[in-house]
Symmetry: C2
Amino acid sequence: MTKSPYGELSNQGASTNIAWHHTSVDRQSLAERRGHRSAILWFTGLSGSGKSTLANAVNSALFERGLACYVLDGDNIRHGLCKDLGFSDADREENIRRIGEVSKLFLDAGVVVLTAFVSPFRADRDRARALVAEGDFIEIHCAADLGVCEQRDTKGLYAKARAGEIKEFTGISSPYEAPEQPELSIATGSQNLEECVAQVISHLVAKGIIPA
Amino acid sequence: MTKSPYGELSNQGASTNIAWHHTSVDRQSLAERRGHRSAILWFTGLSGSGKSTLANAVNSALFERGLACYVLDGDNIRHGLCKDLGFSDADREENIRRIGEVSKLFLDAGVVVLTAFVSPFRADRDRARALVAEGDFIEIHCAADLGVCEQRDTKGLYAKARAGEIKEFTGISSPYEAPEQPELSIATGSQNLEECVAQVISHLVAKGIIPA
């Protein structure tokens, strides 16, 4: 598809158009400029397992290193892009699909994007993974036991789920399908936050995504 | 909403949780680190008016200055995030809604985001504008005359529309509602690309979004 570079060039050949296309900014140019690659860090786990806390702490650590990074979580997705979606199976699937697509855009923009959603179903996470190239998708299981999450109950949701006030609550009345081969499994139920952050950062360094 | 900073801190008070929240990266921190503000540059105009060409050229100019920037256009939206949408009125409206929401995420991530879509309806563009604060949304009308766009017909779409092969084609069989008070109106039909890019860059400098 050629594009016109406007008035005075409109009678010139296709080569000029192509030249303009070459000036487009791609991931490689972004990585060279910024000194780091982009990636999708997909945090998954039960409610209360520490996904959002860990994602935000990793994001802060990346920011402190001067890297381009951003967190997608319920706060900025469910009230905006996905506010038309409920919690039916089809809507949950569409929610995760859109988050995967938006993550891909941030990846393309050279940003390390961190997503923090329960994303309980393996098939949904695998679809998000399949949108991007091998190595671009890093699945991080926040592997806290249900008992720990329920005891924390940071948002009071488990109590409501047990009382039957929330239907189909993951871990209580709806399944959580743990990742079988996540790139990282983090013991967010027993380690402290600094240890968890260090594990993620080490992995990114080892994979050559960010400098040591 | 408090969040647990994990195992060893789980019995501590709320203040520790809050401390972790304070390390979150906001737009102000991003702007200070990067030396520029973020903004949504919303390019609108007829097919063939040069939206995508101009957006990509401005993006390249911003990248050359070392700024964080990204283009959203049909290539990366219609085949991904909005691939479930067609061209009915409701689907067009939802398409622009999602683009507005995604733009807001990039804005929040400290990125100058450039959107290049016909976006023919004033109400849809105004809804996107309403998502963000005054000054964050810069509407840029690519004001080429229909005659010029149809003569260029870079994608051969006008010919198909005239032949009745495309229904509801903007400018031919569906209205284009030009912006009444866009932040910028650019004569993409008569000026060359360099002049158009310079106009956009000057505006961003004048508004204090990017350094001179």
